[in-house]
Each structure stands twice: as structure tokens, then as C-alpha cells.
């Protein structure tokens, strides 16, 4: 097990190097110039050239990459070209809202999607199954921003129960924190509920056809216990896999939701950085996300151990 962990952690290093190289190259190839954005409307070509030189953007690519990599090896993700704050500081300021949103969304998703999926599997082919799967299709189909505006209209503007936008840190109180996350989490969770409910339904439905389920039922075990302890437990691995993929997608899928609800998270930071060509921030965030993805995958692999004792690494 420790050897497995070490092996997996070491495997992240080449992944990060490749990601860094690809991102750097793609940024160099993309149109746009941060110096032009910095100079503003009243500057001229000479101003842009001067700022490019100051930022080192006039250096050849390999030199720029070597400089950036050198700093990265010393633990320095660089400094934003615009905000003049370290990328690490910017990420640390933004990670809280995104993780909060992700955590509430994930909790909501699991609380809703798994029972729905199990129920649909239990009543496979019946009206409940068809109704739940239709809702699931709707969850997949409706764009997040449409869901967001509908929820805002109903719960914020019409009923005045919840705020339209913003984020409050948990240190200011549990309810203010949660209050600002309810609508965005509902918005974001629709697609994940749809996804995880479908996978749960398929996995549990398959498990329910197995001999051990028939044996359990014949022993007189209650249906709820059969579903929870026997069917769901044995269907857990594909569900855990999809949840893991969902978490990874969730981190990057917050962009629209963060924009509509003005949550100052990593999604907004990424969009701002891309639109202004803030290269160090884009590179830093990409690496950060890469590490998160690797870690989430690792956690999913480890969860298999808990879910299925036959698995050994």
C-alpha cells in the first residue's frame, strides 16, 4: 500500500511536466498579448513594446519557459502580470469559495442522486423509474445558466428567500455561508444528479439480478436492507468511479455558475486570466487543477479498497 501510494505520487511528476509544457506552448501559440491589455486604450505600439520588454515577454519561448520552470522548481508559481500578486496567493484566495461550492454540490448530489438511482433500479421499468429517468434527461439537457436564472427568479427575486449573488466566508457564520451557496449548488448539481442517478440505477439494477440478492430475499431480509447492504454495496465501484470523475469535472465546471452567481472562485479567476492573457495565472491554475485531478483519481482508487476487500494494490 505505501509503495502504491509512493508510485502514484511519483507518477504525478511527469504528468505535471507534460501539462506544464503543453499549457506553456498553447499560450504562446494563442493570439492576444497581455502587454496590449495592460497598456490600455491610450497607449500605442511603442508602449506595448516597452511593457512586453519589462514583463520579459519579448524573450524567446525557450528562455521564458526555462525562467518559469526554474521558479516553479523553487516553489514559485510566478506573479500575475496584472494584479501583481503571487499566483499562489491568488489561488489560495479563490480556492475556498470553489471548494465550498464543490462540497455543497457534491453533498447535495450524493444525497439526492443515490437514493433516486436506487429507487429507479428497485422499480425498474415502472412509472417511478421512467419519471426519474425523464428528470435525469432534463437535468442533462438544460444548460446550467438557464437553471441558474430560473432559480434566481423564483427564490431570490420572487420569494426573496435567498441572495442573487455573492459569497460569504464560513467564518462569518454557517447560515450566511450556506445561504449564498444553496442556489449555485442546486444549479451545479442538476447535471451531476442526472449523471450519478443514472449510473446508480444501472449498477443497482444489475446487482439486483444477482443470485446473492435472491438468496438474501429468500432469507427474509427486509427489502430496504437488501437494497442498501447488498445491492448498493456491490454496485458501489462504478458509482465511486463516476463520483470521482464528477468531482474532477465539478472543479472545472464551476465557471458558468461562479460567473452567474458572482462567486469569487477559481472558475472566475481562470476565465479572467484567459481573457486578459495573464499567462502566469493560467499556468498556475492549470497545474493546480492537474494536481487536484491526480489526487481525486488516487482517492477513487483508494476508495475501491474500502468498497471491495478483494482488491489489493
Amino acid at each position: 500500500m505505501p509503495a502504491f501510494l509512493l508510485r502514484r505520487l511519483l507518477a504525478t511528476i511527469p504528468v505535471l511536466i507534460v501539462v506544464a509544457l503543453i499549457v506553456f506552448t498553447m499560450l504562446q501559440l494563442s493570439p492576444g498579448d497581455p502587454a496590449a491589455a495592460i497598456v490600455g486604450d491610450s497607449g500605442n505600439s511603442e508602449d506595448i513594446a516597452r511593457v512586453r520588454a519589462q514583463l520579459g515577454l519579448d524573450q524567446p519561448w525557450p528562455v521564458q519557459f526555462a525562467n518559469w520552470s526554474g521558479r516553479l522548481l523553487q516553489g514559485d508559481l510566478g506573479t500575475s502580470l496584472f494584479i501583481k500578486k503571487s499566483v499562489a496567493e491568488l489561488i489560495s484566495q479563490r480556492v475556498g469559495p470553489t471548494l465550498s461550492l464543490a462540497a455543497v454540490t457534491l453533498t447535495l448530489t450524493l444525497l439526492v442522486a443515490i437514493p433516486l438511482g436506487v429507487l429507479a433500479a428497485w422499480r425498474h421499468g415502472g412509472w417511478l423509474d421512467r419519471a426519474l429517468m425523464s428528470m435525469s434527461a432534463l437535468g442533462f439537457s438544460v444548460p446550467a445558466f438557464v437553471v441558474a436564472y430560473l432559480l434566481i427568479w423564483l427564490f431570490a427575486l420572487h420569494l426573496k428567500w435567498l441572495p442573487v449573488q455573492g459569497y460569504v466566508e464560513m467564518s462569518k457564520g454557517l447560515w450566511p455561508w450556506l445561504r449564498n451557496l444553496i442556489l449555485p449548488a442546486f444549479t451545479l448539481s442538476t447535471v451531476y444528479i442526472a449523471l450519478i442517478a443514472r449510473v446508480t440505477r444501472a449498477s443497482v439494477a444489475e446487482a439486483l439480478t444477482e443470485d446473492y440478492i435472491r438468496t438474501a430475499r429468500s432469507k427474509g431480509i427486509s427489502e430496504a436492507r437488501v437494497l442498501a447492504r447488498h445491492a448498493l454495496r456491490n454496485a458501489a465501484i462504478p458509482i465511486a468511479t463516476v463520483v470521482g470523475i464528477g468531482v474532477a469535472l465539478l472543479i472545472s465546471g464551476v465557471v458558468v455558475t461562479e460567473t452567474v452567481f458572482a462567486i469569487p472562485g477559481l472558475g472566475q479567476l481562470t476565465v479572467d486570466a484567459v481573457l486578459s492573457r495573464d499567462f502566469p495565472v493560467i499556468q498556475g491554475i492549470t497545474l493546480f487543477f492537474s494536481v487536484i485531478y491526480v489526487m481525486v483519481n488516487l482517492l477513487v482508487d483508494l476508495s475501491y479498497l474500502a468498497l471491495d476487500p478483494r482488491i489489493r494494490y
Binding site: S42, N44, I83, V164, G173, P264, Q268, D272
Partner: protein, 527 residues
């Protein structure tokens, strides 16, 4: 018994504390907070380093200026108490108002002012002209300074009062090279920047400067008194137009600095919202690339300007008639230098026959002109398709290239031919203060490749600008401004596309928004 009472009280205390934590209601003194959705995120804090409008707005919050300008463009003193000039206009003496102090409690001295002017003059176009005309700038005493010119320079007060003036900062900060960004944000203005609460992309916070020494006059644009009735101003960065409108409707913000045109009808019909004018108007311009074909031929450039239909363009972008007006002048209609008659035949209405005739005379080869289309720019993204249609009607072949705004600002700096990564046409907008006279209007530049994007070479414009710079005679200035406008329009240098109204939306109960050439936030109160 006593124990159970104690335990009960303890329990009540714990529950109360829990509820308090849950509700987030802390025992904080009630502050009056004005929450504003700014027109853009504030990412650069140095007004010398960039000319971005949001940075300028930030600078007007925390710094004070020597002179200011009212909503009609009239120049008024601000930090300066008295001033005089020699009869030949070569020596200017200024005395600062007494009692001015920076946010770090140090007094404002002439040394601070001189350092700030020098830093600004190293970067600002008009400032550079001023520095070139200066023999010396020196402190007379701690409160007075003198500027001695080697040649007549009539734009001293205009330079100090314009939209990007020298913002006065402590000497130690102002000694930073103009090529480097400052790292401290200390001014002597009516608001104090809360560095520790600065969250770019989210929230920018300013506190009322209780020690600010306001002028006794009523607020007048960037001049006059600068009273602050609120304790704190928070800029809440809301990028989505619908979210801005929703937040205002729901009482989560008090003001939208630049109301999105598409929200105008809904907000106007909202009884809880008031729509007002702060910055009187802004202008949109058609910019042509004069370095490369076909607009290196003045006849073809002029033909492109004759295709303009201001009415069609503005209606497409601004949606509602209340939000725009046509104006064939470069200078804002209704201000001192505006002229709607001396436009060299340019009317802002399409003259397709004349345009076609010019194209024929010039031998236009029917090669497509590349028109840049910033699809993500909410106030510029609808002009290009309409302009393309108008140009086509005038006989041009047009290729519209869509991109995001940041790609456009990088692309417009390229001097290559359009088919090799360059460009032929783009459109951009300016606030009133940026077009108020020919010297602050950046595109009015005939210095070729050294000038602004489009790079027209026009020695006559530069000669007229030199004369404008030297004179203090207002009648002569008006004449020179009109001549420059005629020259620019007749040579097809660039053309005005009309004026938009950058309206402000406020919640009912918000009062005191000061009409101004720039966005300013003093004097604003809320119930």
C-alpha cells in the same frame, strides 16, 4: 436548584451563541455602506501605468488632483488654492490649499506634487508635451511650486484637469519610475483604499477619509467639494449583466456604474430603480489603418467614412433611442470645441454614391478590408456587422474577423498588411473626458508609426496641435479645434460613429450622484 438554573442559563447561552454563529450576526457597529457594481474589474492600481478607465476611477477615489473639471468641461481648482501666470504665459505659480494630508497623515507638500507631476509627465502624452516645454519645475516653499517654460504652453490647466491628470501621491511613491507599477496606494483623496480587503475579481473596498479637507464649493465633476456621506464604498465585481440587474433589484447592490443597454427597459420599468446620468456622454470612433492598403489611400479612407450611418450603428448597439444620439463632431456635442458644421461634408449619414465615386477615382482593387469584431465586448460587439453591411453598400468588399477583445487589442498593434495578420478597421469608444479637446483625444494624431493605432501621417494636424498647445486664447483654440476636425475628416483619418449615454442605475433612495466627465463616488448617499 441553583445548579440546574445555572445549567439552564449556560444552555441558553450556548444556544444563543450557536444561533448567533448560525446567523452570522456579529455585534458590528452599523456602517453605511454603498455597494457599487463597477464597470470592470480593478486589476491594475497605478493610474500612470495604465489608462484603463476603471483604474482612473479608482485613482479619483483615493488621490486628489491639482485641478478638476465640471460636467461641462469647465476647469476648476481642486488641491490648488491660488495660481497665477506671467503675462507671457511662461511662468506659472501655484499655491496649495492649507491642511492637505495623505492617508498616512503626512502633509501634502510641493515636493510631493512635483514628483507626481514628473512621474505622470514621463508617461502621459500631454504630460510629455508639457515636460518637453518645461525649463524647470521647482518648489518655492512647502506649499507652493513654480513651473517655468522655455516655450509657450497654453494647456497647463487642461493637463492638470483632464481625465488622466497627475494624481498626487507622496514623493517617496511618486519617485517610482513611470515604467514600474507603484506598490503602495496612498493618496490624499476622499477615500482610503483598503489594501487588506482588496480582492481583484471580487471586491474592492474604500473607507471614508475622515480627515479629508474638502473644498467649500458644491461638488462639480472632479472639482469642488468632495463630501462623503457613507462610511464605506464597496465595489462588487459582477461581470454578468443580468446578475447586476438582479442584484440591484434584490437590494444587494445600490448602484450599477454602467447600466448594460440590454437591461435598460427592464430597469426603467422597475419602481425600485432609478436611472440617471453621471458621465454625460461617450463617443464611438471608426479607426482605419493608414499604414497598409487600401486605407493608405486617403480617398479610399474617406470613402469608408462616408459609408457611416450613425443612426443604424448606434441603434444596433444601444437598442433604445434614449441611450444614444448622433453627432458628427469628434468633440462631444454640446461642449466647447464641438462643431456639427465644420465637418468637411461628413454628416454621419450614409453617402453611398459619393463613397462609390471616390472608390472608383482611387482605383480600389476590390481586395477585402479586414474588419475586427470583438464578440465578447458588451458595448462594441454589435457595431462591426452593421458597419460591414454599410461598407458593402458603399462598394467595399469586407471580411469580418471575429475575436475576443484582448485578441483585438493585441491585433490592432500589428502593422502588417491585413492578409498577413494585420487589420484594416476596428471600432472603439471613449468617455467624454477623453474627447473633450484635440490634445486629449488620443487618435487625433498625425505622427505616423509613432502615433496611435491606425498610424496616419498628417503634418497639418500636428502643426495645428502645436498651435493649440501654445495659445491661451479660447477663440483661437476653437478655431484650431475646428480646423483639426475638418482636416481629420476630409483626409479620412478616422470618423465619429456618434455618442452613447453611459447611464447609471441606482436603487431608489440613493442620492447625490455628481454629474462629471469621469465616474466619481463622493457625495453619494443612501437611505
Amino acid at each position: 436548584m441553583s445548579g440546574s438554573v445555572f445549567q439552564s442559563r449556560k444552555l441558553v447561552g450556548v444556544i444563543a451563541a450557536g444561533l448567533l454563529a448560525l446567523s452570522g450576526t456579529a455585534a458590528v457597529a452599523q456602517e453605511k455602506v454603498l455597494r457599487v457594481a463597477p464597470q470592470a474589474d480593478l486589476r491594475i492600481l497605478d493610474p500612470v501605468w495604465t489608462t484603463a478607465i476603471v483604474t482612473r476611477n479608482h485613482a479619483f477615489m483615493i488621490y486628489d488632483t491639482l485641478f478638476g473639471m465640471d460636467a461641462n468641461g469647465k476647469i476648476l481648482p481642486q488641491m490648488v488654492d491660488t495660481w497665477k501666470t506671467s503675462p507671457d504665459g511662461m511662468v506659472w505659480d501655484f499655491k496649495l490649499r492649507p491642511g492637505l494630508a495623505f492617508h498616512d497623515k503626512t502633509p501634502v507638500t510641493s515636493a510631493d506634487v512635483i514628483a507626481s507631476i514628473k512621474r505622470w509627465g514621463s508617461r502621459d502624452t500631454l504630460g510629455q508635451s508639457m515636460m518637453a516645454a518645461l525649463t524647470k519645475i521647482e518648489a518655492v516653499d512647502t506649499n507652493s511650486f513654480r513651473m517655468t517654460f522655455k516655450q509657450p504652453f497654453g494647456m497647463v490647466l487642461d493637463a492638470f484637469a483632464k481625465s488622466s491628470p497627475p494624481f498626487i501621491m507622496p514623493e517617496r511613491i511618486a519617485k517610482t519610475s513611470g515604467d514600474q507599477q507603484i506598490t503602495e496606494n496612498i493618496g490624499s483623496g476622499p477615500f482610503i483604499f483598503k489594501q487588506d480587503e482588496y480582492r481583484p475579481g471580487n471586491k474592492i473596498v474604500y473607507l471614508k477619509n475622515k480627515d479629508y479637507v474638502s473644498r467649500s464649493e458644491a461638488p462639480a465633476g472632479t472639482a469642488g467639494g468632495k463630501p462623503v456621506p457613507v462610511d464605506r464604498v464597496e465595489w462588487i465585481v459582477l461581470k454578468d449583466a443580468q446578475t447586476q440587474a438582479n442584484a440591484l433589484t434584490n437590494g444587494e447592490i445600490d448602484m450599477i456604474e454602467r447600466m448594460p443597454p440590454e437591461q435598460y427597459s427592464a430597469l426603467k420599468a422597475n419602481p425600485g430603480v432609478e436611472i440617471i446620468t453621471q458621465v454625460p456622454q461617450g463617443s464611438v470612433m471608426l479607426v482605419l489603418n493608414h499604414l497598409v492598403p487600401p486605407f493608405n489611400n486617403p480617398k479610399i479612407a474617406r470613402a469608408a467614412t462616408l459609408a457611416i450611418s450613425q443612426e443604424s450603428l448606434l441603434r444596433a448597439q444601444m437598442v433604445n433611442n434614449d441611450l444614444f444620439k448622433t453627432c458628427p463632431s469628434f468633440y462631444p456635442c454640446g461642449t466647447a470645441y464641438a462643431s456639427t458644421t465644420r465637418t468637411a461634408g461628413f454628416t454621419g449619414k450614409p453617402q453611398f454614391s459619393a463613397a462609390k465615386r471616390l472608390l472608383q477615382e482611387a482605383g480600389y482593387d476590390n481586395k477585402p478590408v479586414v474588419l475586427l469584431h470583438p464578440t465578447d465586448h458588451p458595448t462594441l460587439n454589435k457595431y462591426p456587422p452593421v458597419m460591414a453591411a454599410l461598407l458593402t453598400q458603399a462598394g467595399f468588399k469586407v471580411e469580418v474577423q471575429s475575436m475576443d477583445w484582448q485578441t483585438l487589442v493585441a491585433r490592432r498593434a500589428k502593422k502588417d498588411p491585413a492578409d498577413k495578420g494585420g487589420w484594416n478597421i476596428f471600432m472603439t469608444s471613449f468617455f467624454m473626458a477623453d474627447t473633450i479637446n484635440p490634445l486629449v483625444f488620443t487618435p487625433m494624431n498625425g505622427t505616423g508609426e509613432k502615433g496611435w493605432f491606425g498610424w496616419p501621417t498628417n503634418p497639418k494636424i500636428e502643426t495645428l496641435k502645436g498651435e493649440f498647445l501654445a495659445t491661451l486664447d479660447e477663440a483661437k483654440r476653437k478655431e484650431l479645434a475646428a480646423q483639426m476636425q475638418e482636416e481629420a475628416l476630409s483626409s479620412g483619418m478616422l470618423a465619429p460613429l456618434g455618442e452613447y449615454k453611459p447611464l447609471v442605475a441606482v436603487a431608489k433612495g440613493v442620492t447625490g450622484v455628481v454629474p462629471s466627465p469621469n465616474t466619481v463616488m463622493w457625495n453619494i448617499d443612501k437611505k
